[in-house]
Symmetry: C2
Subunit: 233 residues, 2 copies
């Protein structure tokens, strides 16, 4: 077991979360930068000895974003023996004056269970923890270099999103309560990384019977004002 701030955690087990938001025209994820290291990482954490794995991830997510009840899905567990580079972790520990023996367990090998979350960009107030300078949004197609195998984790998260876009993923978690058809289409296009035909997309979405149409908005933009939609539930 390992201790951190007096709390006991399972050794060798961690989680990392790929937290997706949608802003402007692009998918973003939350990244943390550690003090004085220029090392970027996915927000992650450890599992307390009597805590459900899923609860641990929700706890960490709430601490980082202030959000409860977000859409959260486990997608893969990364367990290569060599995935933990002790050099990087040493640098982080030293920069934070955490070099004493009581936290040496953090340098051990860790198997990490990876989760993806879909959240509304605007509802979030990212909060860095004690050992990180920042916790901010980065464009998924323009990430800084990440520690360990975190780039691979992000790639796998994206693949999971793509493969599940048709069925299971509640895309509305990424959008405002009300949104235009163009915004919805843009989310699909960014996740699938391909452009879709406007007419066909609109017809398909409306035929699914999952959208409620509201009055037209007067959004101040030029040209014909679009309807607003929301997801039925």
């Amino acid at each position: 077991m390992g201790f951190l701030n007096g709390i006991e955690y399972l050794d060798h087990l961690a989680y990392d979360s790929v937290i997706f938001g949608f802003a402007g025209d692009n998918l973003k994820i939350l990244l943390m930068e550690y003090h004085d290291t220029a090392l970027f990482a996915l927000p992650g954490g450890f599992v307390q000895v009597d805590e459900d794995l899923n609860d641990a991830v929700r706890r960490g997510l709430a601490e980082r974003t202030g959000l409860q009840n977000v859409y959260l899905e486990q997608f893969y567990t990364f367990g290569d023996a060599k995935r933990n580079l002790t050099g990087e972790m040493n640098k982080i520990l030293n920069a934070n004056n955490l070099g004493d023996d009581s936290v040496k367990w953090i340098l051990n090998r860790f198997v990490s269970v990876a989760y993806l979350a879909l959240i509304n960009y605007k509802n979030v107030n990212p909060r860095p923890d004690e050992i990180s300078d920042s916790c901010t949004w980065y464009d998924v197609n323009n990430l800084p270099p990440l520690i360990q195998d975190h780039t691979l984790i992000v790639e796998k998260a994206l693949m999971t999103l793509q493969s599940q876009l048709d069925h299971k993923i509640p895309i509305f978690e990424l959008l405002e309560e009300q949104f235009t058809m163009a915004e919805l289409q843009r989310v699909y296009e960014v996740i699938l990384n391909e452009s879709l035909h406007r007419g066909s997309f609109q017809r398909k979405m409306l035929s699914l019977g999952i959208l409620k149409r509201h009055e037209k908005q007067f959004n101040g933009g030029a040209h014909k004002a679009p309807y607003l939609y929301s997801f039925l539930k």
Copy 2:
């Protein structure tokens, strides 16, 4: 850490494998029965301290089935704090005279990474390990009661199979090198748990361009002899 037969394993981390085969007209999975306990479980194991998680699972699979290079896919990690019922494990340890302190670590909480495998029923020679009486096939729709949350693990494996049947799953791993269209259709029907229209299924499969048609077989059965097919690769 924990030791077993002089080998060191990561504590708190295990894997379980749902090994699918297709025989007669049904999906089957491999289950183990522990000595003198009437307890059934999925074949599983532990991860050595310097071993990749995926390698550990392949090692265990080879030991149980004698097979190398099988299709293997990680599908979920089960991490509830209460998923390990010490009563069941105690019973198993006692029945095997393993009650001494050196294996008490097995009674700890374990997070288990679950894998599914697709293998050819006929190529397998299931081998029980030291603490199990048997390692044999059971019809997926008629399983004995399983320990811990293993029934849940099987259900999730089946759901994963269903959701991936269209895209990613190499179904041919379940079949002989050559097979009839009726056999292939039966595999789909069993996994999807619904009957399919014969003509449409044949047309669809042939249109995919992934099948090679061979000469007709003389299978000794009555009626018109069907073509044999194999998957292109």
